[in-house]
């Protein structure tokens, strides 16, 4: 199957492309470079690791603030500014896995030669490092 075909399977399965990419040949992985780990969500947008589309996060933030104000739980004279801050905070929390993935990639790049020599599986190391960092930092990924 072609590289594009594998990525499409990631789209179809709504799964992290990395799981699919383990089935790809080494040459394809090298050719893909950084893009190999992009998560092509079912929405078809290339947004690494995002759980919800950015448009939907915008909607959630806007509606959250609207409900809180209109139902009288809070008052604010600057609803738009508050919505923007809530949106940014939601976005940051929902992209925590995306940032962690990037960090793991960078760490593994530093150990690429060592891993090659010892024959360590990239996928296994990726999983281990990622879960360790998530545990250490008490992150909730999804």
């Amino acid at each position: 199957m072609s590289t594009r075909g594998h990525l499409r399977r990631a789209v179809a399965g709504d799964c992290p492309a990395v799981a699919v990419l383990t089935q790809m040949g080494a040459a394809s992985r090298v050719a893909l470079g950084r893009a190999q780990f992009l998560w092509l969500g079912a929405r078809g947008e290339v947004h690494p690791g995002m759980l919800l589309t950015r448009d939907f996060i915008t909607y959630m933030a806007r509606e959250t603030v609207r409900h809180l104000v209109e139902e009288g739980l809070i008052e604010t004279p600057k609803r738009e500014g508050l919505t923007a801050r809530v949106r940014a905070a939601m976005d940051e929390e929902l992209s925590v896995e995306e940032r962690l993935n990037e960090e793991v990639r960078q760490i593994l790049t530093q150990y690429a030669e060592q891993m090659r020599k010892t024959g360590a599986s990239y996928q296994e190391m990726y999983k281990k490092v990622k879960s360790q960092l998530a545990r250490d930092r008490k992150l909730i990924l999804r």
């Binding site: 399977r9 947008e45 448009d55 939907f56 809180l68 008052e75 604010t76 929390e93 929902l94 999804r142």
Partner: protein, 95 residues
């Protein structure tokens, strides 16, 4: 559901923290009630999102021609119909 219960709870704290940090926000209800309300709202949004996803998939599968999921055409249609759903919610696509 696309997010776990734990993630929704975390998000509720994140939003409340943002409200607390904002000088221009006055709390009418106590923080915990507001946080519980936020949890309920987020769960509602997630259900809405799931329904949107289902509707978009149905729309694609109801086309005259069979479009295999994962094909480029399916991908394009998904994006198009999803954007239409978002527009219906009053959100124009960010690019």
């Amino acid at each position: 559901m696309r997010l776990s219960r734990e993630k929704v709870i975390r998000l509720s704290h994140v939003v409340v923290d943002q409200l607390v940090a904002s000088d221009d926000v006055e709390f009418i209800e106590d923080r915990e009630s507001i946080r519980q309300k936020i949890i309920a709202l987020i769960n509602g949004f997630l259900q809405e999102e799931e329904k949107m996803d289902t509707d978009v998939r149905k729309k694609i599968s109801s086309q005259k021609k069979e479009i295999p999921e994962g094909s480029a055409e399916w991908d394009i249609l998904y994006r198009k119909y999803y954007a239409e759903e978002m527009k219906r919610l009053g959100v124009t696509a960010e690019r």
